[in-house]
């Protein structure tokens, strides 16, 4: 076999290829201009994907003819998606709109560096300001300006349980749940050979979720606020008590918890291999997806001590600066901010609409309950999702917790969290 390598022909081929690539790129840019909308999110699990579809269906009905591009990045809690988004924004290649959580991390990462447009005029023209509770608006409002549209509010502090399994073991859960009741039930189940609490913390945030619910319940609303203003240290007797309580709770979890994801853990309650799961109400989407019946197959109650508190994570959409299709993005925000779209969305996502004017009667039992809580509860932004704290604290919290669940050293955990807390106030 003989290879004839001719330099001149190689050069010519190279030039031809480069030309073709340039033409191709130009054609690609031309196609982009014709009514496209790229929506970036981390909604890929079953319930989440269905919820996203409710939004896009509603948009397609209101603004037909636009091509929707779903740029979802998988990974629970959006940890992977946020990395991708950060890189795209820094590189000047924003999607037309992205989904994110609101609060401190949102302002630090996106509003501060100027990645999102001020959409105050949209709030005025759509009359959204009077529809949403002020404490919730504060999560996306700064100096009277709005930077995102809420589509749903999740309540993070629920305890889910398999009702039939508990009935079988003669355990009755009332309107609220105390720690004594929980531990009595857990012991009983453990003695009967049933796994009491399911946990899937291969992403440590699911474990942090329980810890936050626990310390918020012990501290109450006022004291919890002080944590984030720096008036109350993590290295205090109150917090150490919460840490000890957290360790006690973890004694009842499945042995393979660090190998499972949060939704697999919820699956254990659905299929009856575990009795309880402590998680936010995106878990509700998993119950619905599995066709489990509210109040029949499964029940729910506030995490001990938090019945009057709504630990909130919101999902919101933005209008990025320099996005390729700004008009489509505004239409998108109008759609997702409307009451009917939010109703359809909440049915699948397990969150409630942040608007107080949604027709409650159309909601399933859990969401009616949660919507009532939304109207009555005090709001505490979730620190696990960065609603109250910068990303650096969230990571420090996760790292400290990863070590804590293994070495069970309360003093070191308290010291590590206090150090991270100190770093917030130092800027």
């Amino acid at each position: 076999m003989t290879w004839e390598l001719n330099r001149r022909s190689l050069l010519k081929t190279g030039a031809a290829l480069a030309g073709a690539a340039a033409v191709g790129a130009a054609a690609g840019r031309a196609a982009m201009a014709a009514g496209k909308l790229e929506i970036f999110s981390w909604w890929t699990s079953g319930g989440e994907a269905a919820a996203l579809k409710a939004l896009t269906d509603s948009y397609a009905a209101k603004f037909p003819g636009t091509e929707l591009i779903n740029a979802a990045v998988a990974g629970g809690g959006g940890t992977n998606a946020q990395s991708v988004l950060q890189a795209r924004l820094a590189g000047g290649n924003p999607p037309d709109s992205w989904q994110g959580n609101s609060g401190t991390a949102f302002f630090d990462q996106y509003v501060g560096p100027g990645f999102v447009d001020d959409i105050t005029s949209l709030y005025k023209s759509e009359g959204w300001e009077d529809k949403v509770p002020p404490a919730v608006l504060d999560l996306i409002r700064k100096d009277g300006k709005y930077y995102a549209v809420h589509v749903g509010a999740h309540r993070c502090n629920e305890v889910w349980y398999n009702k039939k399994l508990l009935q079988k073991h003669d355990i009755d859960i009332g309107e609220t749940l105390s720690w004594d009741q929980f531990f009595a039930a857990a012991e009983k189940l453990k003695n009967a050979g049933v796994n009491a609490l399911s946990l899937g913390d291969n992403g440590i945030w699911a474990n942090a979720r329980i810890f936050e619910n626990t310390f918020t319940g012990l501290l109450g609303y006022e004291q919890t606020q002080k944590l984030w203003t720096g008036e109350l240290s993590f290295d205090s007797p109150e917090l150490k008590e919460a840490m000890k309580l957290h360790l006690k709770v973890l004694e009842f979890v499945n042995s393979d918890h660090s190998a499972l994801s949060w939704d697999q853990a919820v699956g254990k309650v659905i299929d009856g291999s575990s009795a309880f799961n402590m998680h936010g109400d995106w878990a509700y989407g998993e119950f619905r997806k599995a066709n489990a019946k509210d109040g029949e197959d499964f029940g729910w109650v506030s995490h001990p001590g938090t019945d009057d508190i709504f630990i909130i994570v919101t999902d919101c959409f933005t209008s990025p600066k320099g996005a390729p299709n700004p008009q489509e993005a505004i239409n998108w925000l109008k759609t997702v901010g409307s009451a009917d779209t939010q109703l359809a969305f909440s049915l699948n996502k397990g969150s409630v609409s942040p608007r107080l004017d949604v027709d409650k009667t159309k909601l399933p039992p859990y969401l009616q309950w949660s919507y009532d809580k939304f109207a009555k509860n005090k709001f505490v932004g979730s620190s696990v999702n960065g609603e109250q704290v910068p990303a650096a604290f969230v990571q420090a919290h996760f790292d400290a917790l990863t070590t804590f669940v293994v070495n069970k050293n309360v003093d070191r955990f308290a010291a590590a969290l206090a150090e991270a807390q100190q770093a917030i106030s130092n800027g």
């Binding site: 003989t2 050069l11 990863t402 669940v405």
Partner: protein, 341 residues
Amino acid sequence: MSLAIEAAEPATRTREGMLERLSPVLLISPVIVTTLVFVYVFIVLTVLISLSTWSPVNLAGGFASPLMKNYSALFSNGRFQADLRNTVVFTSIFLFGSVGLGLALALLVDRQIRGRGIFRAIFLFPYALSFIVTGVAWRWLFNPESGVNVLFDALGINTLLSHVGVGPLKPAWLTDPTVWPPLNEKLAAIFPSAAALQFDIGVPLALIGVAIAASWQLSGFAMATFLAGLATIPDHIREAAKIDNASGWTYFRKITWPMLAPFTVVNLVILGHVSLKIFDLVFAMSGPGPGFATDVPGIFVFEMTFRALRYGLGAAGSVVMLLMVAIVIIPYLIRNARENH
């Protein structure tokens, strides 16, 4: 096979001649430029960021004061200390496993056995897979409730063990936070300052599962290298050994092993640097793991940079990783360069 490249014409002043003389430069320049920009410029940028307080949430950040602030934060970080321990442990188990297994496989398929071509392909195949694919598959295999442990039950191993009065064989694999042996207290008895260590010295048991998966995947690569090495052993040496009646073990010890030495070094260097910068396999398989039992510097850098947005700390971690890899690679490159002269 012959390679017929047009002979370079004598340099003329025609346009054609210019093109001929410029073409090697033109052809190679894209590679040089992209390598310069995407490798060396970025290394310099990373070093600069590692010395600064800059990040997407602190765009105004300048040089850190003291300059090495991020590095001192890095080495005093308990998680990073655990990562360094994990790198040492993982690299040891993985190199021993993959090179040993690769050598065994090479010796097996180098023999005149039926269908050895098929076996070669089968053993090399895992190397062609993505680390992510392997990571996910091995994560399932090592799930304590549903993976290989089910096999132990099905094979009756546990029934057997219970008859002997021993507990069931049910390793927790990747979910096991144990670091063995417990050395910290003993060490603290000798060196009181060791009590301040923020991580447990020893072998994190969860890491063994990860090392098994990595060895499985890369032993095929080691095998291929060793096969090439075995092919370089001249026939006359083989025959001489045969005439001298060298037994299998003597032949291996006196002939094969010394003659394979350069190939063993190649394997150790290449697989060693894979091991030092491993990320995707561990990330897909177990992530940081219970108590950072399977955390590696790659995951630390990723999370600190893109999740915590502490770019300085992440960049410092990257620079440390680069130095570790350089320690392995540079002597090898220097040796190669000398041999070529």
